[in-house]
């Protein structure tokens, strides 16, 4: 790739792309969580609004999923079988 940009600009753009990539990964995680938690928390669309139970369930779903992944990593780190 022949480059028109000077070195400083290239570095800046590289940093920018890394930032955008991190953002995209976060958005992708949010999509995944929304699908997963929708599945377990929203049984029907009788109303077009979330009730308080559904909202609470979605929040718990996100929290406990992250807890689960933290727990698993910790357990792997402390276990001698790996």
């Amino acid at each position: 790739m022949s480059s028109k940009f000077d070195e400083a600009t290239q570095r800046e753009l590289q940093g920018f792309v890394e930032q955008e990539t991190a953002k995209a990964q976060m958005q992708s995680t949010i999509h995944e969580f929304t699908n997963r938690c929708w599945e377990s928390c929203i049984p029907s669309a009788k109303s077009n609004q979330l009730d308080s139970k559904e909202t609470q369930c979605l929040q718990n779903c996100v929290g406990r999923f992250i807890d689960t992944s933290v727990f698993i990593v910790k357990r792997l780190q402390t276990s001698n079988s790996f």
């Binding site: 600009t9 949010i30 699908n35 669309a45 077009n48 979330l50 979605l58 996100v62």
Partner: protein, 83 residues
């Protein structure tokens, strides 16, 4: 290097635009998938008005859910980073 300075912003703008597009696309696909599943368990020969009503409510609800999940996730990530 003023010319490259202008191009640089164009590159950034283009990247941002494509990211936003991909994100919207993903959201639309997910609404489609989840609301089809919720509202059209027995698909008929055409979309009934009941189907459309369900799809509309489901869509609103899915967007609201996406919002709740985003907030919960971002809050948690910020907490984790704070420790």
């Amino acid at each position: 290097m003023e010319v490259s300075g202008a191009n640089k912003e164009e590159v950034k703008q283009q990247v941002r635009k494509e990211m936003a597009m991909a994100n919207a696309q993903e959201l639309i696909n997910n609404i489609n998938k989840n609301c089809y599943k919720m509202c059209l368990s027995t698909p008929g020969t055409s979309l009934s008005s009941a189907d459309e009503g369900c799809l509309a409510r489901c869509m609103d609800k899915f967007l609201a859910s996406w919002d709740v999940v985003s907030r919960a996730y971002v809050t948690r990530v910020q907490q984790e980073n704070g420790h």
